[in-house]
């Protein structure tokens, strides 16, 4: 079997796509996996041995040909067609688009293969046949959207590839690496803080070798704080080899954290600025994270920092990073304890400085997961068992009243949506009966007000409502289309709200069965020990 993966994003993403190649190898043993990448990032070729053949797109060159007009645009067309013909000659059984961009969707259109999965052009828009996960990926990873799922989870699910988050641990204790800069100023913790951490780590672990990682472009800046002998400035392949033997990497949200996770080096990542651990935590069971505690975190990727000082970095003291690093370095015995914490988080990573898991966010993630995976026509969802798992994972953090409050909020929200559905039906009737303009406007205002209220009310479900709300701010030429969109959106929101309410109902009854969260947690613990 021959499989082609379009991986046309940036360096870090292509490195992450190695996980995809590994999952494909597991799912299709013996298959040949080939990648299409942007030739600017050809350095990754040596890092991903699972890939047999690399097709490189000279994106930058084509852009220059098309923009700078030094050569006929026919040259770019000729080259692209040649590349497509070369790819076609490989007769791929399966082509997967792991890139959610318009260019990659157009490329999918051009490539012939027995089966294609992933974003393609549908009626002039980037779309997908029926996969809700793909739609979610497109909507939440193309811009500054927030996501409830890790990028790789979304990618696997949207491309219909089964996966497990691996558990990789190297047993080497060669060095501790600090990667002190990221490509984004907002994500930097600060060289002065890393300098202090370096000194304190060295004092606490005098027998360990501590090295400061940087790229050649960053070296001058890093030299202002660290001596030449402590600086480790190498290419990606050498770095990968070094990380195989490393004991710990302390870093920001960088591609190096993924490189480390892939070779089993333990990581402690500082997520600051726009870095969102839910989206891009290292793909390794038990990855440790310290996330910023400032109210503006995480901010939008494209916006500059809005604060006078870098609150994100200030919210993580050096002592806290040292404590977390020490626990990792010293406490191999505590691994079991750590795993328990990971379970409480119900994620593959553990945010060290997050005190309590957020109930609503966790339920929301579960509800979305059911909603996105739901096959058309399937009515039964195994909500009860998932609610029980969730209850066990939440542990002793909640009491009955928390669940009751959340249940009531969810119920109120669902009723609000139903009311909104009624209003939209009225609005549609106005349009159909060609009511006077004033009646239409009045109905329209009611709908908008209702949507705004719901958006404020629901918190976690606000994304989909915000989209509906935005639709109402437009001045549509064709009201039918707008209302159709609104109704479709509302139906989706209702489906989601229904799932959510059911989960809360299950949680509530489970909680009533015990006396409080602690009791249920303990009962479940006893049960799991007995089994």
């Amino acid at each position: 079997m021959k499989i082609l993966v379009l991986s046309l994003l940036r360096l870090g993403d292509v490195i992450l796509h190695r996980e995809l190649a590994q999952s494909l190898k597991n799912e299709y043993p013996g298959a040949q996996i080939d990648f299409v990448i942007d030739d600017q990032f050809r350095a990754v070729k040596e890092l991903i041995p699972e890939v047999s053949k690399w097709h490189q797109i000279p994106r930058l060159r084509w852009q220059k040909i098309l923009v700078e007009r030094k050569q006929s645009p026919a040259r770019a067309k000729f080259e692209l067609q040649k590349m497509v013909a070369d790819i076609g000659a490989e007769s791929y059984d399966l082509v997967l688009n792991a890139t959610h961009s318009r260019f990659s969707a157009r490329l999918m259109d051009l490539i012939s293969a027995k089966k294609k999965i992933g974003a393609q052009m549908i009626n002039g828009k980037v779309g997908t046949a029926s996969n809700r996960w793909q739609q979610y990926l497109n909507e939440n990873f193309s811009g500054d959207g927030r996501s409830r799922f890790h990028y790789l989870e979304l990618l696997h699910r949207s491309l219909e590839i089964s996966f497990t988050v691996p558990r990789r641990r190297n047993q080497k204790k060669d060095s501790i690496y600090l990667q002190v800069l990221t490509s984004d100023e907002k994500k930097n913790w600060g060289l002065n803080r890393y300098f202090e951490l370096f000194g304190r780590l060295r004092a606490q672990f005098p027998e360990k070798r501590i090295r400061v990682l940087c790229s050649p472009a960053e070296k001058k800046q890093v030299q202002n704080f660290f001596s030449e002998e402590d600086i480790f400035c190498v290419d990606l392949l050498s770095l990968q080899k070094s990380l195989v033997k490393a004991e710990l990497l302390i870093t920001g949200d960088t591609s190096v954290q993924h490189l480390a996770a892939q070779v089993g080096c333990r990581t402690l990542s500082l997520f600051l600025g726009s870095a969102d651990p839910v989206k891009t935590a290292p793909w390794n069971q038990g990855a440790r994270i310290l996330s910023a505690q400032s109210p503006c975190f995480p901010c939008r990727h494209s916006d500059p920092c809005s604060q006078r000082s870098h609150l994100c970095a200030e919210s993580i003291p050096v002592g806290e990073v040292l404590r977390s690093a020490s626990r990792i370095l010293l406490n191999l015995k505590e691994e079991r304890h750590q795993e328990q914490e990971v379970k409480v988080q119900q994620r593959h990573f553990f945010i060290e400085n997050l005190e309590n898991p957020e109930l609503d966010a966790r339920v929301e993630q579960l509800a979305w997961s059911f909603y996105l995976s739901r096959e058309p026509g399937v009515s039964f969802l195994p909500l009860a068992s998932s609610a029980q798992d969730l209850m066990r994972d939440l542990g002793p953090h909640f009491v009955l009243s928390d669940f009751e409050q959340s249940y009531h909020r969810a119920q109120e929200f669902q009723m609000g949506l139903e009311e909104m559905q009624r209003r939209i039906r009225l609005l549609q009737q106005c349009v159909l009966q060609k009511d006077p303009k004033k009646a239409f406007q009045a109905q329209r205002l009611l709908v908008r007000a209702g949507l705004q209220k719901l958006t404020l009310q629901v918190g976690p479900l606000s994304d989909s409502l915000a989209r509906l709300n935005f639709a109402m701010t437009r001045s549509p030429q064709d009201h039918f289309i707008l209302l159709k969109e609104l109704r479709a959106g509302l139906e989706q929101a209702l489906e989601l709200a229904h799932i959510r309410l059911q989960i809360f109902a299950h949680l509530q009854s489970l909680m009533k069965g015990g006396q409080d969260g602690r009791r249920v947690y303990e009962l479940n613990q006893e049960h799991s020990i007995e089994t």
């Binding site: 994106r59 098309l66 030094k70 006929s72 040259r75 067309k77 000729f78 067609q81 497509v84 157009r106």
Partner: protein, 176 residues
Amino acid sequence: MAEQNRISWTTLSSGLQVPSRDGRFLCSQRDPQREAQNWMDMHRQFCTFGDVIVVMGLGAGFHLDLLLKEFSTLRVDVIELCPVLIESWTEKNPDAKDRVNFLSSSDLSEFELVKQKMPVILDYRPAQWGLEGQYQRIFEFLLGGDVSIKNIAQDLSVNDQSLDAKTWRALEELVQ
């Protein structure tokens, strides 16, 4: 005498000879070698884009000297509408004649063969002074008309699902 041949030569204090047309210099009169170096720095990246390189405008030819020196296996088509300048440069560089093909006709059909090879076109504007219109016509002919990718994509019919149409649409996404 044809307009393009009204060339006079000036010897600079550095000893270099530079041409002018109707009193206007066809390269820098202060430091032509530095100017050629700047041109080279600007165009170096494009020299690896294709197999066929066209230089539009010769002037004193210092930029061509650098180009041939830096890319020692490169073959170049040079479009220079003034035969006097071609003669002068060829006399000074007898060894380079195998690597440089001069084209000096203003008849567009003469450029058909070059056009088909979709060359990389490197403009040297100072040497085009006084004949800009003619050079522009040749430039646009070689590029396949004064078309931008936006115009090409806009002209495609929505229903056109041919390979060419799909390819142009894909390329248009790269410059959004």
